[in-house]
């Protein structure tokens, strides 16, 4: 009857204790996005331009149908990492946990894409399962498109701070304010949300400790659904209620400081577009335009034909 050494090694609670962390400090590492504090050319871009780059990236990846277009976008993003002084391994890291799922889905795609076009060559057949060139292309497209988007967003989140996000949205939407779009209000909502997430982190931590001191068990044993509900509900409901109370306090604080909304509001720091911003936008527009052109002019078909001749 010795110590349960195997249990000690694999038990997550024991691992946490060994690492010197409290079980309740699970939330300390929460960060939205992966902003890296470096002084690099891309960090100095106007906040609006950073957001527009994101929109262009998504639109470009969504609009292009060909694998060559996605590869073009991916190359452009990869070239952007040195400009942001982000190591490529760091930039592509978010992909690692999902890669198995993406490949599994791509594999499914091989078999599941319906064959509407007669020019799809069937490469391999076994009963009901067919792998055709179309299925193969669709699978590869899925993987490259997903990779391009994730890498691009990873780069963008490395150069964008939370206040960049709020300020960028506000100033991008400001021209629309004449048409009734409440740019200032929406940007304020975003700013409040961003500001509150760390507060909630601390609050949840505090609630867990309070409940645990009253006998709740947040341990790591296997719990069934009912047990999990009985531990989570006393944590979730107070979390909501204290958030609502803080909201009430914030409303009173704002109104007592004569907050009157966005009419006639001026800004201490007004974003100015520099030539570097326009240059970055122009580059991105070229890349996306190139991607769309490649997809529209069937560069993929040419690529497959060339590959077919070479292989």
């Amino acid at each position: 009857m010795g110590k349960d050494t195997m249990g000690e090694r694999t038990d997550p609670a024991a691992k946490t204790r060994r690492e010197g962390r409290l079980e309740f400090d699970l939330f300390d590492g929460i960060r939205i996005g992966r902003y890296s504090e470096v002084h690099a050319p891309l960090h100095a871009l106007d906040a609006r331009v950073k957001l527009l780059l994101g929109v262009l990236l998504i639109a470009g990846a969504a609009a292009s149908q060909g694998i060559s277009s996605q590869l073009l976008i991916l190359c452009a993003v990869t070239a952007g990492f040195p400009a942001a002084r982000v190591r490529l391994s760091e930039g592509f890291r978010p992909l690692i946990p999902v890669l198995p799922f993406v490949f599994a889905l791509a594999l499914l795609q091989l078999f599941a894409v319906p064959q509407f076009r007669a020019d799809a060559r069937v490469l391999w057949e076994w009963g009901l399962l067919k792998i055709s060139t179309r299925g193969l292309a669709a699978g590869v497209l899925l993987v490259t498109r997903f990779t391009a988007i994730v890498a691009g967003m990873s780069l963008l989140s490395a150069i964008t701070t939370a206040s960049d996000l709020a300020s960028g949205i506000e100033h991008l939407l400001r021209p629309l304010q004449k048409m009734g779009v409440p740019a200032h209000e929406f940007s304020l909502v975003l700013g409040i949300s961003i500001r509150f997430v760390p507060v909630l982190t601390e609050e949840a931590s505090r609630l867990m400790k309070a409940q645990a001191s009253r006998g709740a068990d947040f341990g790591y044993h296997k719990t069934n659904f009912v047990k999990k509900m009985r531990t989570m509900l006393p944590l979730l409901v107070p979390l909501f209620l204290t958030s609502l109370r803080r909201a009430q306090n914030l409303v009173e604080a704002m109104e007592s400081r004569c907050y009157t909304g966005g009419k006639g509001r001026t800004y201490m720091r007004r974003p100015k577009a520099h030539p570097a911003d326009l240059f970055a936008l122009a580059c991105a527009a070229c890349v996306v335009g190139g991607a769309v052109v490649l997809s529209v002019f069937g560069a993929d078909a040419r690529m497959w034909r060339w590959l077919g001749k070479v292989l």
């Binding site: 929460i30 939205i32 996005g33 992966r34 969504a62 978010p94 992909l95 946990p97 999902v98 799922f101 993406v102 599994a104 795609q109 599941a112 894409v113 319906p114 669709a138 497209l141 899925l142 498109r145 997903f146 988007i149 994730v150 967003m153 989140s157 209000e185 304020l188 909502v189 409040i192 949300s193 961003i194 500001r195 509150f196 997430v197 507060v199 909630l200 982190t201 949840a204 505090r206 309070a210 509900m229 989570m232 509900l233 944590l235 979730l236 409901v237 107070p238 979390l239 909501f240 209620l241 204290t242 958030s243 609502l244 803080r246 909201a247 914030l250 409303v251 109104e255 907050y259 909304g261």
Partner: protein, 194 residues
């Protein structure tokens, strides 16, 4: 009385709660077979019931936007491949608030407290149905592969029943507990705050 400032702040705070539940494991309640019930749409419902459909739309936008960003920056599971498409992650979430608010207003005439739970059920079902519906629509209409692979109707139906229904019950429970408690607590300050 509900002022503009109050709507802005409630939208911001509930948005933060939704993002927080999504960013930590708290928003995922493990259910059978490794799947999880999510409660990140519950702040949307609560915001809509308390402050109206427009606030619900804004919180839904924050919820959808965050699930899109999370799918694109730090993907965690198979669903994130679909969620990189903003039409799947953002557009359906905009309607959760208005649907919940409509359900709340419709039933408020007959009951008082249970209408919160009904709003919870309506909002949660709207989330499940709309997201799965958009995924199905996209894979049906564009068979040449748009963003995703084909999710068979059977799989979507299974998810809707095994995940969607318990999620609706959970949302009803949470909405009821929070809103009923909030509307009483506003007038008196007793008891422990945590």
């Amino acid at each position: 009385m509900t002022t503009r400032t109050r709507k802005i702040v409630i939208a911001g705070v509930m948005g933060a709660v939704s993002v927080f539940l999504g960013a930590t494991h708290l928003g995922f309640i493990p259910w059978i077979a490794g799947a999880a019930l999510t409660i990140m749409h519950v702040p949307v419902i609560i915001g809509a019931v308390l402050e109206g459909p427009l606030v619900g739309v804004v919180i839904g936008l924050i919820f959808g936007g965050f699930s899109f960003i999370q799918a694109a920056i730090a993907p965690t599971g198979p669903a994130d491949v679909w969620f990189t498409n903003p039409l799947v992650s953002i557009a359906p979430r905009l309607l959760i608030g208005p649907v919940a608010w409509l359900a709340y207003r419709a039933f408020r005439r007959w009951f008082d407290a249970p209408s919160f739970a009904i709003a919870g059920v309506a909002g949660s079902l709207a989330n499940t149905a709309l997201v799965l519906g958009v995924i199905e629509f996209f894979t049906y209409v564009k068979p040449d592969n748009r963003f995703t692979i084909k999710l068979p109707w059977q799989a979507a139906g299974t998810i809707a029943v095994t995940n969607g229904l318990p999620e609706a019950v959970l949302a009803a429970l949470l909405t009821f507990a929070v809103v009923a408690s909030y509307k009483r607590v506003k007038t008196r300050r007793t008891g422990s705050s945590i």
